[in-house]
């Protein structure tokens, strides 16, 4: 475990927020984390626990501070205040694949790994995301989905205790995104990291997460477990109800989105069978 508190300027302890459901120490423990930009509090005291192996999705409007929170947990923001404890090994997948263009795919995945087995492990991770055979390719020659899968492999090969995902599929087309959802779900089931997935896609959050958070005005305004069966369908009544609740929390009425999601729904139903 690493305590980021050293990096985050200490502030006096705030009232403890919700604790992890499971027994034992949570993988992520966040208390009273604040972040201001030019006097404006983007995060106004966040309390959050994530249990080991738990998949949490973080929703919020654009500019609500989702990426800011994720960057704090990744240790990329030394100016935040409060307390945060995260696992020693964590890995980040950004919205862009962020592969070093001058390093071959395998070297990108193995970046920063030490020891003899590093390259073999990177190769195995590539095979796991379906990129076996692309080890010696240059990142510039990968398609968008392939590059994002390579980024996922780079995160997984570190066997992270915490996997931080910042809208990792935002730039992908609907079909590729569905593939990536299935892949991510399978990989997380196998590796069991704690996951924080930042997304603006309510359906994605419900499909993948054990718990969904909504960030509004710098606070977690909603913290809702997803009580759905393993194979989730958008056509479920429960699914629809949860989606409506989340959208309401985000300040969108369901009617506004009906037209846009209707088409995807028929595609999405195939995924459960995969």
């Amino acid at each position: 475990m690493t305590t980021l508190a050293a990096a985050l300027a200490a502030s006096d302890g705030r009232a403890a927020g919700p604790t992890a459901d499971e027994a034992g120490a949570p993988a992520v423990r966040v208390r009273g984390v604040r972040r201001e930009f030019a006097g404006r509090a983007v995060l106004a005291g966040i309390d959050l626990d994530i249990a080991p192996g738990e998949f949490v999705a973080l929703l919020g409007r654009s500019g609500s501070g989702k990426s800011t929170l994720l960057r704090i947990l990744a240790g990329l923001d030394p100016d935040a205040t409060g307390h945060a404890t995260v696992p020693d090994r964590n890995a980040v997948v950004f919205q862009d694949p962020r592969l070093l263009p001058w390093a071959r795919v395998l070297d990108n995945v193995a970046l920063g790994l030490k020891g003899k087995g590093a390259r073999a492990a990177a190769g195995a991770a590539l095979a796991e995301v379906g990129l076996g055979g692309h080890e010696r390719a240059w990142p510039a020659t990968l398609s968008g989905g392939e590059a994002q899968r390579a980024a996922l492999a780079r995160a997984l090969v570190r066997s992270p205790g915490l996997l931080l995902l910042d809208e990792p599929f935002g730039a992908l087309d609907a079909l590729t995104r569905i593939r990536m959802h299935t892949l991510l779900r399978d990989l997380c089931r196998r590796h069991r990291p704690a996951v924080l997935l930042v997304t603006h896609d309510v359906d994605e959050a419900i499909l993948l997460a054990d718990r969904v958070l909504v960030l509004t005005d710098g606070r977690l305004s909603l913290d809702e477990p997803v009580r759905l069966a393993e194979a989730r369908h958008r056509s479920d009544r429960e699914f629809g109800a949860l989606r409506a609740r989340l959208l309401a929390e985000l300040g969108v009425t369901d009617d506004e989105t009906d037209g846009e999601t209707g088409e995807e729904m028929s595609i999405e139903t195939d995924v459960g069978a995969e």
Partner: protein
Amino acid sequence: MTTAVFDGQGAGAVLDGSGGPAAPGAQAAPGTQPHRAGKPGRAAPGGGPAGRVEIALADPDRPARRPVPRGLRRLLGPVLLVALWQVGSSAGLIDSSVLAGPWTVLHTGYDLAADGTLHENLLVSLRRVALGLVLGVGAAVVLAVVAGLFRLGEDLVDAPVQILRAVPILGLVPLAILWFGIGEQVKIFLVALGTAFPVYINTFAAIRGVDARFMELARTVRLSRAAVIRRVVLPGALPGFLVGLRFALTVSWLVLVVSEQINASSGIGYLMDQARTFGQTDVIVVGLAVYGLLGLLSDALVRLLERHALAWRRGLEAT
């Protein structure tokens, strides 16, 4: 001076190299319907009366024209020029005390090469440039890394370099002679100094231009400081460094020519200066040709290096 732009081959290429774009049906064989591009609703800028543009595409049935190789076509101009020069010299229109004819020059070149004079002096010149380049480029890269990565380094290094850069290198010749005398050192020093500036400036800018997102990535995968430099900063700055290197090569020959003609007892520049005192324009032209060839050769060398070192960009640059 070479330009800072990479070879623009293929940039802005025309679709099939034959017809310009938007020549309606120009290439279409009779009877074949030219492809229509553009949706009816979308008005094309400067389009036809209906607001559409037809894009001339290659006709698959048209036999491929065998174009004259580009390199061959480009030789035409120089060959013509040399022919004119030869005719002028043979006809007595160009006096040999002004400019020796190409045939004479070739002959002299052969003689100089045969008796070893050319070879000897060429080696001396090459050695000066090579040593100067190694010193200059090496120092420039170290300084650029220091200035590019550390705030203090930038304050200490960048400001003085930017000021010194304003001084024309060749203006330093008198001072350099006072410091180093007229031996080898002064020439190597001048070449080193002249090449250090373009390399430093381009490399420093390139290091600063390395995408901050990659630095962030380096932190999330916990790269050590040394690994960040080796895996992220240096490869990211390599394209800029190579641009600087090409400038540096041009500068190196320039500085060498001048310093060898001012005070030297060997080298190609010395050979030319000697020839001047005896009015041997043929030797001077041989020297010029050698310098030209060396310039071309070193440029080709950097291109080769570029092709090899920047192979990862090929995916972006091709097509």
